[in-house]
Symmetry: C2
Subunit: 207 residues, 2 copies
DNA sequence: CTTTTTACATACTGTACGGTATGATCGTAG
DNA sequence: CTACGATCATACCGTACAGTATGTAAAAAG
């Protein structure tokens, strides 16, 4: 059987396997050999696509994590006319779909941030950039929500966005730390009520 | 100069140095040699007091972290007749005293939880026990606060305690992840308003 | 004082793992 | 078809670091 070569697919499979292993065991807790065993590749392939282990981690942030955050948290919020409802929608998924996943592995971005942010400046830079992107999008969405009459006018959108992300990461982190699925429920409930408190109380949104 | 031997003090100095290094570089990122260099001791001393590196980490949770959580978060809350005011008091310290420390190193318990909880069952067990203790004390304090008329009657004290801890850890984690002192301010503001929303609205507390 | 145990210091070992050197095969340009 | 760079595989290297073996001085026991 002659295996067709597909460099880009090879690269993606390495990224996917590395993401999985790192999500499970952390960056330092994951050996390159383990990643390669998952993909069926060898070191030659890995070091052809990535100069070293750190660069692989950097690529995971820039590509895998950025996509995930965007698809899961930003896109639905942008789709919905009411940003609060958009966020609550994604929030609800956490309590139904992947409670166990969160309890066992936590949030991959939070994991990497806590582990690698103080250790390597490039990691820190890329993680901060991703957090800033996330916060910026929530901030903008909240501001638009204010204009549309969905969100209270007396809140600072930037600070609110910061606190929302902080609460989400805190929930994922504590769920992972305590290992109890009930933690997810309690925290999601708290966040949901907080989001609800951001609503403008006009009965009918403008336009 | 004849150095008087003091085994317990030696043990404590190892624990203190290990806590510092681990708080800075994480558990796996900290080498035993580094800890010993800080203390001026050698491996003989370390392996006399602790069977291995893991056991040292376990002792840090049981002794150092437990004491810190108790002194910083539980004790002031118990001292105050109004648990909400007690929590807010400690919260205020974060924004004044050690903002930079939090931004650079995060919460030591959260750090250890995210890094070691999935890796080692004993770590996970001890971390969970500490979180449960913390949550239990907040839960009890809130319940007493309800009886005294300080805390709203319509909240679930356990879920509320869980969300409080989650928010605190989330704030520390995001501050570390983003590296911005402003994150602490924004999150503390959010938590403070959340705590305020837990207040009973009777004008005069019972008794 | 003698003996034993405690509390360390010093020197060494084993290994896991990130990284490299080299070679083979595929795809593609000319 | 030929040549050459791209895409991998295989075998090996260096080292950081947890852990061990052994020795020694200080307390404690007797």
């Amino acid at each position: 059987m002659v295996v067709k070569r597909n460099p880009e697919q090879t690269r993606q499979s390495i990224l996917a396997a590395a993401f999985e292993e790192i999500h499970r065991n952390g960056f330092r807790g994951t050996s390159l050999e383990r990643i390669l065993a998952d993909t069926g590749l060898t070191k030659g392939a890995l070091y052809h696509h990535f100069p070293n282990k750190d660069a692989l981690g950097h690529a995971i942030i820039d590509e895998v994590l950025r996509r995930q955050i965007w698809a899961r948290w930003i896109e639905p919020m942008l789709q919905d006319e009411d940003p609060i409802r958009g966020l609550q929608g994604t929030l609800r998924e956490l309590t139904t779909d992947d409670v166990r996943l969160v309890c066992e592995r936590g949030c991959p971005l939070n994991n990497l941030a806590q582990e690698m942010s103080p250790a390597d400046p490039i990691f820190r830079e890329k993680i901060q950039a991703l957090y800033r992107l996330w916060r910026e999008k929530i901030t903008e969405a909240l501001a638009r929500g204010q204009g549309r009459g969905y969100v209270r006018e007396d809140i600072d959108c930037g600070d609110t966005a910061t606190f929302i992300i902080s609460s989400l990461e805190g929930a994922a982190g504590l769920a992972k730390g305590m290992g109890e699925p009930a933690v997810v429920a309690a925290c999601v409930g708290g966040i949901d009520r907080y989001l609800e408190s951001l609503r403008s109380h006009q009965l009918f949104p403008i336009r």
